[in-house]
Amino acid sequence: MAIFTTSDGTRIFYNDWSSGQPVLFSHGWPLSGEVWDSQMMFLGAHGLRVIAHDRRGNGRSDQTWDGNHMDQYADDLAELIEHLDLRDIVMVGHSTGGGEIARYIGRHGTARVAKTVLLGSVLPLMLRTERNPEGTPMEAFDGIRAGALADRAQLFWDLSEPFFGYNRDGSNISEPMRHQFTRICMQAGIKATYDGIAQFSETDFTEDLKKIDVPTLVAHGEDDQIVPIEASSLKTVKLVPKATLKTYPGGSHGLAQATPDAFNSDLLAFIRS
């Protein structure tokens, strides 16, 4: 059991496998490092060191009442990176995890970072505002908050369908995958789950993105029903100086788990380029 304790006494669970250049994974809301299984097996077997932590409040980490916000997530990550003395890191973030990486770089810079991969990320801002009309209106997030309080098992079960694109004609629905998704989500504490919604939806990462001065792969499923591509990656690629865009036709928000092959090889190719 690899546990790291932060300066405020929060125990963060992480897996640290294989050896080589470190690839550090940041998962989405309200999941855990387990979602990166396919990538970690693949890259670990291709001469890379793979590390995935569970954000505070999520997965196997401690559940704290306070501290469930982007700045703290970024600082927790910074402490883990320093604890393991990681250098030349490839940071890979999914959804909210992309925000975690952006805020880390915004607060701590890219001294230890070689490259970043932002998959289906919420960047730069999910919330619909006057200057962000393509975004998602607040009512949608109010609805998620209401669902999280009323019956979050139902919320996650329902969410698993559009998450993996299982509501599309001709998709290969995996019931066990939906159960797995729901289980991982239920591991997260109620407070972290609730607080996390505002964090991923309302945080404006525009200034953080401008500070990402390393090669960045901006990847997104074209049929992502959770984080629509128009408001996110299509904008991110314009804000990050050295960014390239890679989209996956028919790809869902959960493509790294459901249809990982193309992404895995793109990931490896990017790391090695």
Binding site: T136, A140, D142, G143, R145, D158, L159, F163, Q225
Partner: protein, 408 residues
Amino acid sequence: MSPGESDHSVFETMVIPMVELDTSGLRSLLAKAHIGTTSDLAGRIDADAGFVTGAIAAVRVVYANPAAIELLGGSGPGETMGEFGRLRASGTADGFRREIEAMLERRPSFSDETHVRRTDGSDLPIVYTSWSPSGNLASDRQLVSLTDISERVRIAQTLSRLRSELAHAGRISMLGELSASITHEVNQPLTAIVANAQAGLRWLDRDEPAIGEIKAALETIVLAGQRATDVVARMRAMSTKQALELRPLSINDLIEETLLFLSHELVKHQVRVRLDLTTEPAFVSADRTQLQQVLVNLLMNAAQAMADARSWRRILTIRSRLGSGTIRVEIEDTGPGVRAADQDRLFDTFFTTKTEGMGMGLPICRSIVEAHGGMLEVSSRPSLGATFRFGLSLVGPMAVQPESSTTA
């Protein structure tokens, strides 16, 4: 003043048209026929269909004020006085029957919307109010005021016509919004027709033409052609401009047909439909085009609301439930819902929460539902969705529609 005459000086200068009736002849007719109650009257009318007409003939107009003479036309009182029947337009006997009932029940007054016949033979819609100086109608003298409501009737008819035109405009606008879907729905069978025809020609070109394959291709062409024809027919039905035509129709059938009409749009908005319809047959008296317009509008609103809000969960539930003598239809979505403050204004003309909305759809829907005798209502749990509901009276499947009244 001679005995038996009323003092008419007060009425001479009144602007309200007034006549005075001598109903002594009617009262002795009723007494002779032993009619003392409304059921006596009913029995007598059953036996003698012309009784009420005969009763009218027993009443005499003994005075008409200048305002009444002007209303009824003619050059002097002579043309107005005398037979009461001359004043009454044809087809108003039923109203007089109710006036006799009011007399039998000794009511103080009687009021009715009806028509009078003017001296030139034309009909005028009026409010007819009769009362007696003695305090109840069971006396020999009745005073009647005649209030011209032709302007009001004209305005109501114009309103009805405008509502119809507005509803029609709403349908045309809706067809505009759906044009991409409609084009797609027509293109699909057309593409199938061309592809199958080409395949058929290829099969024909062989040394031994494959008759079986050609036949299959032709059968597919027939089916595809039928589908395209159906789409066009639905579109045509939607775009007709005609007055409200009420017929018995099955609510569940209409709902399912509407879903067929919108299937492409619903897929486009990534909406899943759940049907929760009553299993018993349920017929309402409705104008098919207009009621379908309401359903299309509500379903499209729901689909657009969920898509616009990027809802992760987009489920549209359509329910039909039998009440006592009514059927309730509910359309529920899992979109952002409607804020309490907006709920009251939702049906106001030109109010819209859509970025590109005109705000006419819901007012038109409410107007149509009201014209069908129902009420369109909304309830919402903010952020969890909205439900639109209306109820209509049930009729038998073969119900014959009653004739509409002469006043609008």
